[in-house]
């Protein structure tokens, strides 16, 4: 996996803010650690997160630092009660996490690959998301889950899904999708502090990304998107990795004299309807870029909202650039074709502006 630099997320007003360039994966781990220090009720649960046990002493070994090194060093610091390594039983341990959330703790669950959510889906849908509503508001479920999504790393059909809309569809659940080191710090902290169940979907392609991160602690309000580039000709809407693809496409389009505005949604449920409508009313054209498969996707939902509420401002049809309606292929060439690429976005924008 190549190391990429993230888009500048900060924009005007952040000059002089103390901070440094950091890797996404390190920021992720540091944020988990900070939240565990901040609140003793926060604990982590997941498969392999203590990285095995020493052959002789039987003490946690932290061999790899957990899946994708997200929990590296934490078991030594916090011990096995708070870094709770779970047997491979997603329904069981996600259910236990819900039970612990219902009784006062703030569990954070590492589900490893996003595809594994289906194994735990009943606990997520029927218990985590519905308990507050069906019990008449007498309880809350302060549960955070995270897992790695996305094609592009040769993980093939069962380790690469980006089914964002499958989760965003569920009333009672919140869904966030960081796109760089800055957003993962603020969104993960906000998710852990939130009193509703929140699922953070982490595209694998972002894990080695570097970018500027302010030193001070901060949270990003759930449900807020952000502009990562301003422009008047067309709006590009990204989420998770596609925000990076949109930014790269926008920079290339600028060399052709096309000024694209780029929105990084950051949250998918709730999502920032206002920023979508504001930008479309400014640019009058919009391309939504989504690595999820297209049917009943977030791209379709955003398109519907824009068609409903900004129809009179549109100078062209709302366009979607998405993965095809297919599982994720293994072969590198096919996998690259599956992922929405900057070139696909550029082609779509040119067509939209009549500049083919």
């Amino acid at each position: 996996m190549t190391t990429q630099k993230s888009v500048n997320p900060l924009g005007p007003g952040y000059e002089g803010v103390p901070g440094e360039e950091k890797r996404f994966r390190d920021v992720f781990r540091d944020t988990l650690r900070a939240e565990m220090i901040r609140d003793e009720d926060v604990f982590l649960m997941g498969e392999d997160i203590s990285g095995g046990f020493d052959k002789e002493t039987k003490e946690p070994l932290d061999a790899w630092g957990g899946p994708f090194a997200a929990t590296k060093g934490l078991v030594q610091e916090f011990g096995p009660e708070r870094i709770r390594d779970a047997p491979i039983s997603e329904a069981g341990f996600v259910g236990a996490a819900v039970g612990s959330a219902l009784t006062g703790l703030r569990p954070v669950v590492d589900l490893m690959y996003f595809d594994f959510v289906t194994v735990a889906f009943d606990q997520l849908l029927s218990n985590a998301a519905k308990s507050r509503y069906m019990f008449g508001g007498q309880t809350k479920v302060p549960l955070t889950l995270f897992a790695r999504s996305g094609a592009g790393t040769g993980h093939a059909a069962q380790h690469s899904e980006s089914f964002y809309s499958m989760l965003a569809h569920i009333p009672g659940l919140k869904v966030v999708v960081p796109s760089d080191p800055y957003s993962v710090k603020g969104l993960l902290a906000a998710a852990i502090r939130d009193d509703d169940p929140v699922f953070l979907i982490n595209d694998k392609k972002l894990i080695n990304l570097t970018g500027f991160v302010p030193d001070d602690e901060y949270v990003i309000e759930l449900g807020k998107g952000r502009y990562t580039r301003r422009g008047d000709d067309v709006t590009l809407v990204g989420m998770s990795y596609t925000s990076i693809a949109c930014q790269q496409a926008a920079e290339m389009l600028a060399t052709e004299g096309i000024e694209a505005e780029v929105i990084d949604m950051m949250s998918l449920s709730p999502f920032d309807e206002d920023i979508l409508l504001e930008s479309v009313m400014n640019t009058n054209r919009v391309v939504i870029v989504d690595e999820d498969t297209p049917r009943a996707s977030m791209a379709s939902e955003f398109a519907a909202i824009i068609a409903d509420k900004a129809f009179d401002y549109l100078d062209a049809p709302v366009k979607r650039v998405t993965a095809p309606h297919s599982p994720v292929p293994y072969n590198k060439g096919l996998e690259d074709a599956f992922i929405p690429q900057p070139a696909d976005i550029i082609t779509t924008v040119r067509k939209l502006l009549g500049r083919e």
Binding site: P87, S89, G92, A96, S100, G104, L105, M134, D196
Partner: protein
């Protein structure tokens, strides 16, 4: 017998309350006053009563679609339960849960749960909280489920987790012989479901679930183990539901009259009455006074529920989230 007089009275009151609540609830359902499907648990009074006799409000239970008995044994208010079943604003969940989702977190009741087996890991999670906080001696988790749920993967995952993590949990399997209409002789691969406990490194005990004293004794040991930090126990309580799977499950042509008679002859409440009067632990007069009080309670519960208001239309949008910023009209 080393059960206090007060505990004996509580046991009789609880079993009779469950019996009469289910019968009263069914009457109301057939009058059209219930707003949906109900799953009566009469006949199965002994397991929740004998187990919850050892619990306090700090202990947690998970329950099932057939959950009224668990609720009552955990101390929930029958007025609010009846109102919930009638869908009223005064119901235990404001009329939004219904019979299959009655919960009271102030009483340590994690909620009835309508996906078979789905509540099992919740009780494990409650036990995890207790262990995390170091309060196993005063807060254990009890998971109620049936023979049907014994085939669900999540039970097996939960048993493994509870054993690996040595959590203060009791798995209380109420084997009433039928998963909906399917008999356990067909769907369960073992003679005794409790025999599976050995494979998960915990004691498995077969208990006569029609005998509240047997349940009380077995549960006492299991809960004491949990409170002492010795880990989970599996109890299989062989019991019987007097009615069908749900209120409209009649006639019960998948069961024989002989089988029904066998269990009715061993009725938990009648057996209790016989034993306590023969052993002069309670008087017939005391038993009658308890029954009379319950009869009055049911009349008041029905009256309360029937005369309670419906939820406001705006309740549709309440409590989906603690907070949600998206401009979905009405959503709170």
């Amino acid at each position: 017998m080393d059960i206090s007089k007060e505990k004996l009275e509580w046991i009789y009151t609880t079993m009779y309350r469950i019996r009469r609540f289910e019968e009263t609830m069914l009457e109301q359902t057939f009058k059209g006053n219930s707003m949906g499907v109900t799953h009566p648990s009469d006949g199965q009074e002994a397991p929740p009563t004998g187990i919850c006799a050892h619990l306090t409000d700090k202990d947690w239970i998970g329950s099932t679609h057939r959950g009224h008995g668990h609720c009552i044994a955990k101390g929930l208010d029958t007025h609010k339960m009846m109102a919930e079943i009638m869908g009223k604003a005064t119901g235990q969940c404001g009329g939004k849960g219904g019979s299959m989702h009655i919960a009271d977190f102030s009483k340590g009741m994690l909620g009835a749960n309508a996906v078979v087996g789905a509540s099992i890991p919740l009780a494990v999670g409650a036990a995890l909280t207790a262990k995390y906080r170091g309060i196993e001696n005063e807060s254990v988790g009890v998971s109620f489920f049936g023979d049907g749920a014994s085939s669900q993967g999540v039970l097996h995952e939960s048993m493994n987790l509870a054993s690996v993590w040595k959590l203060p949990v009791v798995f209380a399997c109420e084997n009433n012989g039928y998963a909906e209409a399917t008999p356990s002789w067909y769907a369960v691969s073992a003679d005794d479901i409790a025999s599976r406990a050995e494979g998960y490194g915990m004691p498995g005990v077969v208990v006569d679930g029609m005998d509240v004293f047997a349940v009380y004794d077995a549960a006492g040991e299991a809960i004491a183990r949990a409170r002492a930090g010795e880990g989970p126990t599996f109890l299989e309580l062989k019991t019987y539901r007097y009615h069908g799977h749900f209120h409209a499950d009649v006639p019960l042509n998948y069961r024989t009259e002989e089988e029904e008679k066998y269990y009715h002859d061993r009725d938990a409440i009648k057996s209790f009455e016989k034993r306590v009067t023969e052993q002069k632990l309670m008087t017939a007069k005391k038993l009658k006074s308890i029954r009379d009080a319950i009869e009055k309670e049911m009349v008041v519960a029905v009256d309360f529920a029937l005369n309670s208001p419906m939820p406001d239309a705006s309740a549709l949008y309440d409590d989906v989230y603690v907070n949600y910023s998206n401009p979905i009209p009405g959503l709170r």
